[in-house]
């Protein structure tokens, strides 16, 4: 009875053609969110366009200035990439926190991003790392900052027929470090109640010269918190800075009460995690 169809194009152009030609089509990457949504009748697409056989979505490239991560690269594959892990450990750790090892074998960076959950683990880390999503569609290609891709829970700024082929991250400068922490009630297998991604670059004397702080699960979309970054830039990581950072993080939260935590709890823990993630990022930057 199910009229759902499946296609596995091997080129970007073919995928765009399929997506643009059928308004019930949906991009299918790792499937770890989408298949659950299908099962629960939350979505009823007519066509699944599997992008895993397209070379561009499956590559990780580390260039002189930039890092490119294919949208359909899995968490497990990223975790096995030692060079990438050394450059952006926070991003890799964040992706590796998604689900179990079984889920890691399937879940993709692009899928985690485009599923557009405010609690997606990879997103705060990607935002902190300054990542951009590279999008193709019927009208050509474009780039959008990761923090601007998601427009609300389950909603993105992708137009009909568009999909994310890969992500581009600036290669971190010397004396840079990033980190991502999340809070869950168990040790594994939960959705983040709060997530915090921090990336910093330090001068030789340990003063922060650049910082990005992003928070997940505390607002309808992942928040890039400029006020928190402003606290860090120009500071050394002393106790007073950490307290100001926590306050800035808390101030950026507009969470809800739901089955995963209360608003009050989320705000408090956002401050705690921002401090802890900043401390780790700092240690990494100092080498």
């Amino acid at each position: 009875m199910s009229d759902l169809n499946y296609a596995a194009p091997e080129t970007v152009e073919a995928a765009v053609g399929l997506l643009a030609g059928d308004d019930t089509a949906r991009v299918f990457a790792g499937g770890t969110d989408l298949l659950v949504q299908l099962r629960e009748d939350l979505r009823e697409p007519g066509l699944l366009v599997d992008i895993k056989r397209i070379a561009e979505t499956r590559a990780v490239e580390i260039g002189a200035d930039a890092i490119s991560i294919g949208a359909a690269v899995t968490g497990a594959e990223l975790g096995e990439n030692a060079e990438l892990k050394a450059l952006v450990p926070g991003v890799v750790e964040a992706v590796n926190l998604i689900g179990s090892d079984q889920v890691q074998g399937r879940a993709t960076v692009g899928g985690n991003l485009c599923n557009a959950s405010p609690a997606a683990d990879s997103v705060p880390a990607l935002v902190a790392a300054g990542a951009k999503a590279c999008i193709v569609g019927p009208n050509g290609s474009r780039e959008v900052a990761v923090e601007d891709l998601m427009t609300g829970p389950g909603q993105t700024s992708l137009a009909a027929g568009e999909f994310v082929t890969h992500l581009v991250l600036p290669k971190p400068a010397a004396r840079s470090g990033d980190a991502y922490l999340r809070f869950i009630p168990r040790t594994e297998m939960d959705i983040a109640v709060v997530g915090a991604g921090v990336a910093v670059t330090l001068a030789d004397d340990g003063t922060c010269t650049a910082a990005r702080v992003a928070l997940g699960a505390v607002a309808p979309t992942v928040q890039l918190v400029q006020a928190a970054a402003d606290v860090l830039v120009g500071s050394k990581l002393d106790a007073a800075t950490l307290e100001k950072l926590a306050a800035a993080a808390e101030g950026a939260c507009s969470p809800i009460d739901d089955k995963r935590g209360t608003a009050e709890f989320r705000i408090q823990v956002a401050g705690v995690l921002a401090k802890r993630a900043a401390t780790i990022a700092w240690q990494r930057a100092e080498g």
């Binding site: 009875m1 199910s2 009229d3 759902l4 169809n5 499946y6 596995a8 299918f28 790792g30 499937g31 770890t32 298949l35 659950v36 299908l38 099962r39 699944l48 599997d50 895993k52 497990a76 689900g99 179990s100 090892d101 079984q102 889920v103 074998g105 399937r106 040790t187 594994e188 297998m189």
Partner: protein
Amino acid sequence: MPKHNVTATINGDETDFTCRTDQTLLDVLRDVLYLTGTKNGCGTGDCGACTVIMNGRPVNSCLVLGAEVDGAEIETIEGMAKGNELHPLQQKFLDHAALQCGVCTPGILNMAKSFLEKNPDPTETEVRFALAGNLCRCTGYDKIIRAVMDAAAEMRENAR
């Protein structure tokens, strides 16, 4: 109703099957191929009972479409013993009483097998995190962890 003709290698045998798009690999294994050793505990990737090894990686077969495994290599619990010889993990699960109802056991065995191939000398904590995607409600995990650690030791010994 779209149907897909798929050829995959399952436990070493080239296997053809036909499935609808909405049928997962788990549905195909259980309802089309009658390989019912792979269990359905949740259908959402949260319990790990349906864990199989696909192209060398553990996956929840409930989160894989039958249509997309064309050309893939799949290992299920039915292929773990070689003839009448149990895999060391299977043997150690029996020796350590690491199962009660047994419905989580096939998934845990597949997960543990695939984990030990990557990490042959794990700590207890590493084993616990590797098995975090496999719920067991009977055992409290204690004897499962002991069995995996002991199997790892034996497999290291056998590999010397």
